[in-house]
């Protein structure tokens, strides 16, 4: 692929690789959207954007395109929105294989279909060699928060129950394995997937849901700490209840990493009032993305609000927000 100024070759590339996949009927440079849902009294528009720079670009369970769609869909989802439309912008390093771009675009279309959203506008730039690392993708998303729906971390109260929808750390471990330079064999696939259908099922079964957070960068630990700080309440989790694959634990032991800080791309944590916990759990488990769902802990009054994990061996460990990367703290 050659770096060009925007001539015919470029237009052909865009048409051939992207627009024909996202909207076969044709895509204009500007999406014109009219939607009856927005006209409902009290409904609100949700709008988010994110850039994706994952390496390697393709890994077991997904690629950068799938992450770009799922990431933005899930960002909208955990805010209580029903995602509807996405934009996608590509920064492509000169010399990138067109076949790779086709695979990425196809993955984006599949993910969008799975989530029930449309990619309605976009942009493409090809830059000189070295100016980008093969491919960067930016997606923005628009969704609608139905009237009366209000998810916020500040709403979490002592006694509320914390649930996750599935196994933790798969994405982070899969990326580490796929980078290849770590030389270990592990049958781990990224958990990358849209969570909007799961979220709708939970909200229907447990309308009291207080809040949800996707446990992406910084893992479950960071998501819980954000909620604890926003709500000024403590959170207790049980190590024994955390759904995690033995392979992921093994990789973490080997590399000396804490799985609670590993990134996920298809995991969320949410808080519901205690009496709705079982209903929320059952609703999660009824969906594809929630088969391994589990109750992992609860919010609790604490002298200084923070996240504490009751470990398998009886102690209670503070799980804090990292300032930087994982560095040994031990003397």
């Amino acid at each position: 692929l050659a770096h060009g100024g925007g001539g015919k070759a470029m237009r052909d590339l865009i048409e051939d690789v992207f627009t024909s996949v996202f909207e076969p009927d044709g895509l204009e440079d500007q999406a014109r959207l009219s939607h009856e849902m927005l006209a409902v009294e009290g409904a609100r528009l949700a709008f988010t954007t994110d850039s994706f720079v994952v390496q390697p670009l393709e890994f077991p369970g997904g690629d950068i395109g799938k992450i770009a769609v799922c990431g933005t869909v899930n960002d909208l989802t955990v805010g209580g929105a029903q995602p509807l439309w996405l934009s996608a912008a590509f920064i492509i390093e000169e010399g990138t294989e067109v076949a790779l771009l086709r695979r990425v675009a196809a993955a984006m279309r599949r993910a969008a279909d799975q989530a029930g959203v449309r990619i309605v506008t976009g942009d493409t730039k090809v830059v000189e060699r070295g100016a980008a690392d093969t491919l960067f993708v930016t997606t923005s998303g628009v969704g609608v928060i139905p009237a009366g729906r209000e998810l916020a971390a500040e709403k979490v109260r002592a006694g509320d129950v914390a649930l996750v929808n599935g196994v933790l750390g798969d994405h982070g471990a899969a990326i580490l394995a796929a980078r290849g330079d770590m030389v270990f064999e592990a049958d781990i696939r990224s958990d990358c997937r849209p969570l909007n259908h799961l979220m709708e099922a939970v909200i229907e079964a447990a309308p009291g849901v207080r809040c949800a957070r996707d446990a992406t960068r910084g893992g479950l630990a960071s998501a819980l700490n954000e909620i604890s700080q926003a709500s000024a309440i403590g959170i207790e989790i049980d190590e024994a209840r955390l759904p995690m694959r033995a392979e992921v634990k093994g990789v973490c032991e080997l590399l000396g990493l804490d799985p609670l800080y590993l990134a996920n791309e298809g995991a969320l944590v949410l808080f519901v009032p205690e009496e709705q916990a079982e209903a929320a759990l059952a609703a999660m488990r009824s969906t594809e993305a929630g088969r391994d769902a589990a109750i992992i802990g609860r919010a609790a009054e604490m002298r200084s609000p923070r996240v504490v994990m009751h470990s398998l061996f009886g102690g209670s460990r503070i799980v804090d927000m990292l300032v930087g990367e994982q560095l040994p703290r031990i003397c």
Partner: protein, 780 residues
């Protein structure tokens, strides 16, 4: 001059002079010298007014008669003119008394012990007997100032007889806040943990404390509520019971402390010097690490170690408990491994149920958890390894040159946390609290910080923290700073500063060579330090040398698993091909071959979670793993290094010098700093393995080689116009052999050597150094 006025003298005394029987002593001395006047507590100490001929003799007589727990820092004397009173009286306290007048808990004194043993005394067999010279202090205080109403004794109304003693200046118990007796004080009782009841009929001839002693003798595990927390106790000579306690407590490797009735019992199992005997019997009554000798104890008491931690009973309850016991008992902290010890009866019932069958409870609430202190005597001085009961919160005077008007709070380290308050030129180092990642320990830190802040009316101008941004203590410091400056202090600079401060090195003294042999601390170059030679004073430091930086493959995993350090060191030296070519016959080769080497190689090559570290602790881990003493997992911090030291064959320490493993000191490429290079050490060590050299000999050669190289480095860095003083700090100096060899080597070079005594060399002393460095910065 008013009519009838006579010239007298007023003395203002500062120091540890309240709540320790100081005023009755003043009263007695004044009466003996036929002086009249008065004495009272004030907010800054004690004020004494004296009239009479012998006034000039008063101060020296008072100093000679000082009660055991009192300490005079300064006496200011001025002449006064007033009407001379007829007699000498003890006056009422002025205001709330002195801030920071809290003294450490003290072991029962001999006078009280005699009473407890005397059937004709009213406190015969009373487990909570105390006086102004002994008993609980810090552990029972809820808020300051120290006064019965603000301690956990507040619920016990004094009986008339105790009340009389309390208000009689001639009595040992004058103003003894925790005064109590059978009639009015706390009680002890035994209960069964878990289902079932205790059959009291069976013990009808005894009291409950004695019954608990009987249970220990019969092989039961009993939870005992002590001064600063619960212990778990059992007969230390029954291997199966000790092993059972280990299993139930889920504490696998770490040594248990023992308590014995008296020195005669201890000397059957361990040897001790006169100085060690004195330390055991001191009011601080720490656990003292003694060399095992004589009758062997079960291996499960202190697996792999050559030293046993012994303590003597420090409360009447413990004396009564062990009265009939001719054998030592295990006296380990009452908790599940990794947690702080229980302090309340409810906690003990809930947490210790699966561990102990019975509990000896009492109803004097423990306000402040405080562990047993641990000490050792090396090179003729007491060395505190863990500073808690008996020592904390005694203040440490800052050296000359430090301002008296700056208040600082230093947050300490992540492990073995202890914080430090500086005010009025004194440093108050809190008791050892433990590892912050444990939520209950961190809660304790926050509670204690509130308590100390209130007791000392402390308003710090700045907060000192470790430079490691992820330490929970650092985060906590930033969280409470509230606009005040936060001063980040490099870990090993703080270690050395702590050593300088406790040795009274003045603020403006010339720089020293600081040698910090340690586990890990964040360096200022983004790598992890831990074997550092710093030219430094309080204000700053220059890194002048180090141990060779080697990768820590897996970060924290490399701390848990010694084999990772062995592998990283061997690969940094010779690579796999050379190792395989020369040493394929070693079991070590087979063991390392079985490990996931390619991943570790890749981690080191790409720097993935494999920071470079010049740690001395990890060097010890590597050596212990190569010797086969530690491999998969350390059960407790420093285990590999402790096993390696304990393995030393003392005879091998006297081998010819050239058998010590040869470290060299080349210059590091780029920066040009000299470093201690273990290349030839590993070759020699692996060669010794091929020759089936005993581990005890290899360990001796390793220790001697390392000590020689540290001394050689010091010689180089102090040559010409270099410092004439060397300060030793860091956790590795708790290795007595390394400490002694380095210390002796440096003294032979004619260097002045400073080392730790009252403050631990490990991270437990770090906060003092942080505070001193921060003071120096603010003073600029």
């Amino acid at each position: 001059m008013e009519s009838g006025a006579v010239t007298g003298e007023r003395l203002l005394v500062r120091g540890q002079v309240q709540g320790v029987g100081f005023r009755p002593t003043v009263w007695r001395v004044a009466r003996e010298l036929e002086l009249t006047g008065d004495v009272r507590n004030t907010s800054s100490g004690v004020e004494i007014r004296l009239w009479g001929e012998a006034v000039s003799r008063f101060e020296s007589e008072l100093r000679a008669a000082l009660p055991a727990l009192a300490r005079i820092d300064a006496i200011e004397r001025v002449a006064i003119d007033a009407v001379r009173p007829e007699s000498f009286v003890i006056g009422a306290s002025e205001g709330d008394g002195m801030r920071g007048a809290v003294t450490p808990d003290a072991a029962i004194c001999s006078a009280c012990l005699e009473e407890v043993r005397d059937p004709f005394e009213r406190r015969y067999r009373y487990p909570f007997t105390n006086c102004t010279e002994c008993g609980p202090r810090f552990s029972i205080i809820e808020t300051g100032p120290y006064d019965r109403a603000r301690t956990t004794m507040r619920g016990f109304a004094m009986c008339p007889e105790c009340g009389e003693q309390y208000s009689d200046p001639t009595d040992r118990r004058f103003h003894a806040q925790p005064i109590a007796c059978h009639v009015c004080g706390p009680r002890a009782w035994i209960e069964r943990l878990g289902p079932g009841t205790v059959n009291h009929e069976a013990f009808s001839m005894m009291d409950d404390v004695d019954a608990a002693g009987g249970m220990l003798m019969n092989g039961h595990i009993v939870a005992i509520k002590g001064l600063g927390g619960f212990h778990l106790a059992c007969d230390a000579t029954r291997a199966e019971v000790v092993a059972d306690l280990r299993m139930r407590k889920r504490r696998r490797g770490k040594a248990f402390a023992l308590m014995a009735r008296d020195l005669d019992v201890i000397c059957r199992y361990a040897e001790f010097s006169e100085q060690e005997a004195e330390l055991l019997a001191s009011p601080e009554a720490p656990i003292v690490l003694l060399r095992a000798s004589g009758e062997p104890l079960p291996e499960a008491v202190a697996p792999g170690l050559d030293r046993i931690g012994f303590m003597l009973p420090h409360t009447p309850l413990h004396h009564l408990l062990l009265r009939r016991m001719k054998r030592p008992v295990v006296m380990t902290s009452g908790n599940l491994s990794g947690r702080p010890q229980c302090t309340t009866n409810e906690q003990a019932r809930a947490e210790l149920e699966g561990i102990a069958e019975f509990a000896l409870m009492h109803d004097r609430h423990i306000a402040n958890r405080i562990d047993d202190s641990v000490a050792r005597v090396d090179l003729g001085r007491v060395r505190l390894l863990r500073r808690a009961r008996g020592y904390a919160p005694r203040a440490i005077d800052l050296p000359t040159g430090f301002p008296r008007d700056i208040s600082i709070l230093a947050m300490g380290a992540e492990l073995k946390n202890s914080f430090c308050l500086v005010r009025d030129g004194e440093a108050v180092l809190s008791q050892h609290m433990g590892d912050l990642e444990d939520a209950a320990t961190e809660d304790d830190v926050r509670r204690n910080l509130d308590l100390y802040t209130q007791l000392y009316d402390h308003q710090p101008a700045a907060i000192a923290v470790d430079a490691h941004p992820e330490y929970l203590s650092t985060k906590h410091g930033r969280e409470i700073a509230d606009g005040r400056p936060v001063i980040a202090v490099q870990h090993h600079h703080a270690h050395i500063a702590a050593c300088l401060a406790e040795n009274g090195r003045s603020l403006d003294a010339a720089p020293v060579l600081g040698i910090a042999l340690d586990g890990l601390g964040l360096g200022d170059d983004g790598t992890i330090w831990g074997g550092e030679f710093l030219i430094c004073d309080y204000r700053g430091y220059r890194r002048a040398g180090m141990l060779k930086p080697v990768a820590l493959p897996g970060g924290t995993a490399a701390i848990r698993e010694p084999w990772r350090n062995a592998y990283a060191h061997l690969m940094a030296q010779m690579g796999w091909a050379e190792f395989a070519m020369n040493f394929a016959d070693l079991p070590l080769f087979a063991r390392l071959s079985a490990m996931p080497r390619s991943t570790i190689d890749a981690m080191i090559a790409s720097g993935t979670n494999s920071p470079l570290s010049s740690s001395c602790g990890r060097l010890f881990d590597a050596a212990a793993a190569i010797c086969g003493l530690a491999w998969d997992r350390q059960e407790y911090e420093g285990q590999a290094a402790m096993l390696l030291e304990a393995a030393i064959d003392p005879a091998a320490l006297n081998e010819p010098d050239d058998l010590a493993y040869p470290f060299s000191i080349p210059l590091l490429g780029g920066r040009g700093l000299p470093y201690v290079e273990p290349l030839a050490v590993w070759r020699a060590m692996l060669g010794d393995l091929l020759l089936n050299t005993p581990v005890g000999v290899m360990s001796a050669r390793f220790h001697r080689g390392l000590a020689r190289s540290v001394v050689a480095m010091a010689q180089r860095l102090t040559a010409d116009d270099g410092p004439d003083t060397v300060a030793l700090s860091g956790g590795c100096f708790q290795n007595a052999t390394l400490f002694r060899l380095v210390h002796e080597g440096l003294e032979q070079l004619g260097l002045n050597v400073l080392s730790h005594s009252r403050v631990p060399a490990n991270d437990g002393g770090l906060a003092l150094g942080q505070a001193a460095v921060a003071m120096a910065h603010l003073h600029e």
